[in-house]
């Protein structure tokens, strides 16, 4: 596929991903899924999955509570995968760290466009007010359906431009980078999920329930249990707390 066609297909995927999230919440916009799709399109699935998995972990705990803007890791993983794959993917030690660095930067820059998109949709609800006043239900419906445009285009346009025009420039810059730079970038990339976990914890009442956090840590770090065992233990602990609360209620 030509570069411009690849850019178009990836941009369309970004558009569909955000619109699906706004509807039934099917996670096509998850960085890991977008990484896979991008990997399939550019012919390097492994790079897509690694960049996507890192972005997914970075996004842990970043739920758009009440409509807050968070970095756009979907757009990040699409652009980062395209760059990482064109640098040679697994065959070039610098490729995937560079892809992750580009993905993180793109995700951060996207917060500006997300705010722009969310603000622009306000126009449509004001227009809908006008149509409702006149009893024009078709006008109201149209305003709602058009609301997807600011959301979708603020993803479509940057992906299209970055993949179509930006890739060569980024590639040239990365190719010229010394090894100490890419080695440090790689280590930094592995540290990013720490922020994801911290954000997740900051949403939770850690000060009140800290013992449960330690239990989970001990299960993995000292007892070396597999993750599925930890999930089961967590469910069992939740069940025990529930049973205890219920018997306490009965006894009162």
């Amino acid at each position: 596929m030509g570069n411009i066609l690849i850019a178009f297909v990836l941009a369309l995927w970004a558009y569909i991903g955000i619109v699906l999230l706004l509807g039934p919440g099917v996670w096509f916009n998850e960085p890991l899924v977008s990484g896979l799709f991008t990997g399939l399109i550019v012919g390097d699935v492994h790079t897509g999955l690694v960049v996507g998995a890192t972005m997914t972990l970075l996004g842990l705990g970043q739920w758009t509570y009440g409509g807050a803007t968070i970095p756009d890791y979907q757009v990040g993983s699409i652009i980062g995968t395209a760059v990482g794959a064109s640098l040679g993917g697994a065959n070039n030690a610098a490729a995937i760290p560079a892809g992750i660095a580009i993905a993180t930067t793109a995700a951060l820059l996207m917060t500006q466009l997300d705010v722009l998109g969310r603000a622009t949709t306000t126009i449509f609800i004001h227009a809908a007010d006008g149509y409702a006043e006149k009893g024009n239900d078709r006008g109201v419906a149209l305003m709602h359906l058009l609301g997807q445009l600011p959301w979708g285009l603020t993803r479509f346009i940057p992906v299209f431009l970055a993949v179509w025009l930006g890739k060569d420039a980024i590639n040239a810059a990365v190719a010229a980078a010394p090894t100490w730079l890419t080695a440090s970038l790689k280590t930094t990339g592995h540290m990013l999920p720490a922020l994801g976990f911290a954000l997740l914890l900051s949403m939770l009442p850690v000060r009140k329930y800290w013992p449960y956090l330690i239990v989970g840590f001990v299960l993995f770090a000292f007892l070396k249990l597999p993750l599925i065992a930890i999930l089961l233990a967590a469910a069992a602990i939740g069940g025990l707390v529930y049973l205890q609360q219920r018997s306490a209620q009965v006894n009162v």
């Binding site: 998850e30 972990l57 006149k134 109201v140 540290m191 939770l204 989970g216 840590f217």
Partner: protein
């Protein structure tokens, strides 16, 4: 149909003997699909999901109200602020209000929306934000980053989880539709909501405690030298700090990193963007080959 059931010829709305208005199945279905597919398409800062709610309710409004003035009043009512968890919560609220709007219970509908969107957002955001997304994300990312040979399974797992979550939206809607006002009573009666959120939080914390060391493998390349006496001869020996740390507590650097990031967010009250920038700068400088604080 019995003689006591009146049928409005133009829109198929029927009324039973005891005065309950029954919408045609096609209208109830159409409303459900509109809510499922498009609720947040016009999400905006001012009234958030309001316009999507009105769009989903339009088939009902057009079926129930016959005069233009009635329809205008109904449309304007549904343009007021609305926001809740769109996947877990909103389908039930919407189903209940569809049933009540059919009875022209305007005030009940409006107060139901306002009364339920808060508590149900609490449940929905906890299930998805604290349990479903973190668990699926970490399991999936672990398959990729852990060199398990099963990396293709990771995105499949994610899509499957989201489809399963979506599948719960249908029974939520139909339960809401059939229960109507009872749903509101159940939710507002209960300490059930806060108990559920508490249990989900506990399960989530155990899982997160185990997932942090499973994902973060950062170590330190720092060393120190100590004097040792070997075979009667004094000499110096280089000891990696990591080996000492492992002897005390495994995964010490990952704990430190998460604690540092947590402090940036909660202690210094930085937003995500600044916390990320600081973590990247500290991480990058610390991992320079000359320093090797992180490896």
């Amino acid at each position: 149909m019995s003689e006591n059931v009146s049928v409005n010829a133009t829109n198929g709305v029927t009324t039973t003997e005891d005065g309950v208005v029954v919408l045609p199945k096609s209208v109830v279905n159409k409303a459900m699909w509109r809510h499922l597919i498009t609720l947040q398409w016009s999400w905006n800062y001012e009234r958030m999901q309001a316009l999507g709610y009105l769009y989903s309710m339009l088939p009902v409004i057009n079926a129930v109200y016959t005069t233009k003035d009635e329809r205008i009043t109904a449309m304007k009512r549904h343009l007021s602020f609305y926001n809740t968890n769109p996947y877990i919560g909103s389908p039930a609220i919407f189903g209940a209000t569809v049933a009540l709007e059919a009875q022209k219970e305007a005030e009940v509908v409006d107060s139901l929306k306002v009364g339920l969107m808060g508590p149900l957002a609490g449940i929905g955001d906890t299930i998805i934000g604290t349990l479903l997304k973190p668990i699926v994300s970490v399991l999936a990312a672990g398959l990729v980053l852990g060199n398990t040979g099963l990396e293709w399974l990771a995105p499949v797992l994610m899509i499957l989880a989201s489809v399963v979550a979506m599948a719960t939206m249908f029974p939520q809607y139909w339960t809401g539709y059939r229960q109507g006002i009872n749903l509101a009573r159940e939710v507002s009666a209960g300490g059930n909501v806060s108990q559920f959120v508490e249990l989900a939080t506990i399960v989530g914390l155990v899982v997160i405690g185990g997932f942090i060391p499973s994902i973060l493998g950062t170590t330190t390349g720092l060393t120190y030298t100590q004097t040792v006496v070997l075979n009667g001869k004094a000499g110096t020996q280089t000891v990696p700090v990591q080996a000492t740390l492992d002897g005390i507590i495994p995964f010490f650097i990952p704990i430190l990193l998460v604690a540092f990031a947590y402090w940036l967010i909660r202690g210094l009250k930085l937003n995500t963007v600044w916390a990320l920038i600081i973590l990247v700068v500290v991480g990058f400088v610390g991992s320079l080959p000359a320093l090797q604080i992180f490896k």
